[in-house]
Symmetry: C2
Subunit: 144 residues, 2 copies
């Protein structure tokens, strides 16, 4: 009998994180999909732009941990729907600055309200202290 048998994959952090992330995202996904036909990639780009105001696609890649082709296509679709605007950087025309249109901000505000509600439901499953520790731990694990 060796020591390796002590390790149970049911306690493997990436597994637990994935299950929790999956389940807690699902019902919210139905909201942005149902209301605006948005994909998860688009929702993520949208709210990053709302939070940080003005970003390049590359900034979004880094903050949101998304591949650049994913971001590129999400930006295209959000632009088509007039949720965002692109403006090339004057100094370095490889960069494009992205900002939400007022229409994009309206959509964002609506979704944010739903997100807040959704978050409250999730937090009811936890104690105040658990929530604090959880947030801290998730932030720590998100540093690569």
């Amino acid at each position: 009998m060796t020591q390796k048998d002590d390790f149970d994959l049911r306690e493997f952090l990436p597994y637990l994180l994935n299950q929790a992330a999956e389940i807690s995202s699902q019902s919210f996904q139905r909201i942005y999909k149902g209301r605006y036909g948005m994909l998860r990639t688009e929702w993520r780009v949208l709210f990053h732009l709302a939070i940080y105001e003005r970003m390049t696609a590359k900034d979004i890649c880094e903050k949101a941990i998304m591949h650049k082709t994913k971001v590129s296509r999400a930006v295209q679709r959000l632009e088509q729907r007039r949720y965002l605007q692109r403006k090339p950087d004057e100094k370095d025309r490889r960069h494009e600055w992205l900002t939400l249109t007022s229409q994009g901000r309206t959509v964002y505000e609506d979704l944010r309200a739903h997100a807040q509600q959704h978050d409250q439901v999730l937090m009811q499953k936890l104690s105040t202290e658990e929530i604090t520790v959880l947030r801290g731990a998730l932030n720590a694990l998100s540093q690569p």
Copy 2:
């Protein structure tokens, strides 16, 4: 100034969970992909079978929170590589019992060792107490 401005999506649990899950999964993904050319779906089916010994595809869907078509295709590929065997249920031939072959178990043991290592690296980012609370919270959030 309304209350809604208090809610910052950077603290939205599904977002934090997703970031942590994504980052903590990435380096491990390179391992099963690099060593065995496996996809995440296949890895998940493999280790569920290793843990529970004998399951139907439906059991896996429920435990792993995966859609049945994902499971169906992962099972097909694992069978082609001779990592698992199917056996129809005698009583109810709609059910198929799945078990790992010895080859599948060997692969699993190898990956489990790597997972354990990986888990230890992740846990170094956290205190013992954080780990305990985190596990509890993730389990709570995984109840749908």
